[in-house]
Amino acid sequence: MNTTDQNRPGNSRDPAELEKFQRMATEWWDPNGKFKPLHKFNPVRLEYIRDKVCEHFSKDTSSVRPLEGLRLLDVGCGGGLLCEPMARLGAKVTGVDALEQNIEIASLHAEEVGLEIDYRATTAEDLLAGGETFDIVLNMEVVEHVADPAAFLTDCGRLVAPGGLVFAATLNRTAKAFAMAIVGGEYIMRWLPRGTHDWRKFVKPSELVDGLSGGGIEMLELTGVVYNPLTGLWSQHSGDLDVNYMGVGRKAA
């Protein structure tokens, strides 16, 4: 592992956050492990991404490969929980993560399940320096873990090709989010290890919109994602951005 590279300052890398994820990295694909909430949360964000992409690029949601021909970047891909479904849907996927251990685990898993994904241990700012752009950029549950959220969002926006889309999901910096995500999720329900989230790093919708607009992105919509304790399922709730929320923006063609 190239430790000097990992310690180099930038918009993405936050040493404390990286250390936290390094401790959990081996559990990415365990549906009952530390990332269980993310596995439960995955279908609702997959559906959102698929539906918005199909609408924007005029693709058929009932196809099994509607993303064929689209280049997709997942920033902060972790173990590849989003990259793999996107590759199955036909996208040409690049997954980047600042943590080399995540990339190793993601690559190994993709190989086991027979998917071709271009995984790289790098950051948004480094990709930008290389001049690459993508039709779709995903930035899901990542911005609350980076060193400089505003600059990071701007970088993500710049990575979007003209006419492309960017998706972002995060937690809102509200009292309710503190109660639900930190007290409820980490201390009471113990869905996530304590300290997974730092409330001070949560992102207000206005900050998300501003950060992305710096990268040339016009936000199209934001929607809340709420948990139903009775069914154990997450679902979209357009009016409630107080805790978990996500959204999509576009870059002019």
């Binding site: 596995h39 196809s63 199955r88 849907l89 086991e112 399940v113």
Partner: protein, 430 residues
């Protein structure tokens, strides 16, 4: 001798080189449930392979063997939804009325399709014609591969995928295995999934008969002391038997004490005994197929799923053929499983994910359990000749018959159109 030498040569040729093919799903068993599931998945673009040890040529070339299936309205919708009904429906005889009676008592239930809308209550069709349609359409689906005859040497279900090794050395890889290998499912046993089983002291004679008078699309279910007796309308014979053109299918359940004596009758004697159960309303009758006898029993798997495995149809649950619901339960499994799998795959999810498989199990288990228990109860209730029980059940039939909502409830159950239905059963696209 020559044939043996030839097949040995073929075996050797198959052994080298061992090739690996990748699919998304492996269906074990090319019976009606397995092939329908494979068609449903492939119709949505999911690459699937069906493996069966039997040679389909043998099943397809045989003449009519007397085995028929009652396809409920809901199952016909499923077959229509995956583009198979047109070629199956042409051979199927619609049931417009069902008459249920208790022995020769006058009490009976009368179900008419006009009460639930103008759709037939179901269809009767020869099994081999369904199979033929399922196989001949398979060739037209680019995402559907059938490997038969092929013997499975080993099944390896890992955390991230499955591998099936065939006896000829070929290797099939996929995300998940769907076991459709019937009542005695080797795949289920291999996975260590236990079943609850009951055996009845009954067996069923199955055959088809030619008869003089038309059946008027009426199905008869008669509860005789030895067990239920069903007479099901079929399409006319292509060539008359003993000058008789009209055709019906018979499922005659009898107590095991009497089975050997009936089985050992010659065709003339059997036809005569059968004639006494049928009564005279069809006029002269004659055997139109070979006859079979099957012991009756129920089985239900304690679980439908395991790591990267789901049981479907008879592999999960086999019931008494009393209400003609066996294959229909299987088709509803297929519709539910295809829906959860296709929905998940359209989101790019791994279709062997335990979450997805348990959604299928939760959806189907209660419905299958209910039908199993109901048929079991019906069998016990109707398979005896004790006067008080008979009086009560006759009263019950009379009450149901006199109450249109109750009658509609039973009809809709028999048609397979109640409960939280899969899209295909509702007649919608997958």
């Amino acid at each position: 001798m020559d044939m043996q030498g030839l097949s040995r040569d073929l075996l050797v040729m198959h052994k080298t080189p061992a090739q690996t093919q990748t699919f998304e799903a492996i269906v074990i068993g090319a019976g009606m449930a397995g092939m329908t599931l494979a068609h449903a998945l492939a119709s949505a673009g999911i690459e699937v392979v069906v493996v069966d040890r039997a040679d389909p040529a043998g099943m397809l070339e045989a003449g009519h063997d007397g085995r028929t299936t009652a396809i409920a309205a809901g199952s016909a919708s499923v077959l229509r939804g995956i583009g198979l009904w047109d070629s199956i429906g042409v051979h199927a005889c619609p049931i417009e009325t069902i008459r249920v009676s208790d022995g020769d008592s006058l009490m009976f239930l009368h179900f008419d399709h006009r009460e639930t809308g103008d759709v037939p209550l179901g269809h009767i069709i020869e099994n081999r014609l369904i199979r033929r349609a399922l196989f001949s359409h398979a060739a037209k689906r680019p995402d559907l591969t059938v490997m038969a005859p092929a013997r499975i040497a080993e099944i390896d279900r890992g955390e991230t995928g499955v591998t099936v090794r065939l006896a000829d050395g070929a290797e099939l890889r996929a995300r998940v295995i769907f076991a459709c290998d019937g009542r005695g499912s080797a795949t289920r046993q291999d996975a260590g999934i236990k079943t609850t089983e009951w055996r009845y002291n009954q067996s069923s004679f199955v055959c088809s008969i030619a008869h003089e008078h038309p059946h008027q699309n009426i199905a008869h279910e008669r509860f005789l002391p030895g067990g239920p007796f069903a007479l099901l309308p079929m399409t006319d014979l292509p060539s008359p038997v003993k000058g008789l053109r009209h055709q019906s299918s018979v499922v005659w359940s009898e107590s095991n004490d009497l089975v050997p004596a009936i089985r050992d009758l010659d065709d003339a004697g059997f036809t005569k005994a059968l004639g006494r159960c049928v009564g005279g309303f069809l006029g002269e009758i004659a055997l139109a197929s070979p006859r079979f006898v099957h012991p009756l029993g129920l089985s239900h798997a304690l679980r439908y799923t395991d790591q990267r495995l789901a049981l479907v149809g008879d592999a999960a649950h086999a019931i008494h053929p009393i209400a003609g619901q066996g294959l229909n339960m299987g088709i509803r499994d297929v519709a539910a499983l295809a829906e959860v799998v296709v929905d998940a795959r359209r989101l790019g999810r791994d279709i062997g994910d335990p979450d997805i498989l348990s959604n299928y199990e939760r959806w189907r288990r209660v419905d299958n359990m209910m039908l199993t228990v109901t048929t079991d109860g019906l069998t016990r209730l109707f398979s005896n000749d004790i006067a008080p029980i008979r009086a009560v059940r006759d009263l019950g039939l009379g009450v149901v018959n006199a109450t249109p909502p109750a009658r509609r409830f039973f009809m809709r159950h028999a048609m397979g159109v109640v409960g939280d239905l899969p899209r295909l059963v509702r007649g919608e696209a997958l």
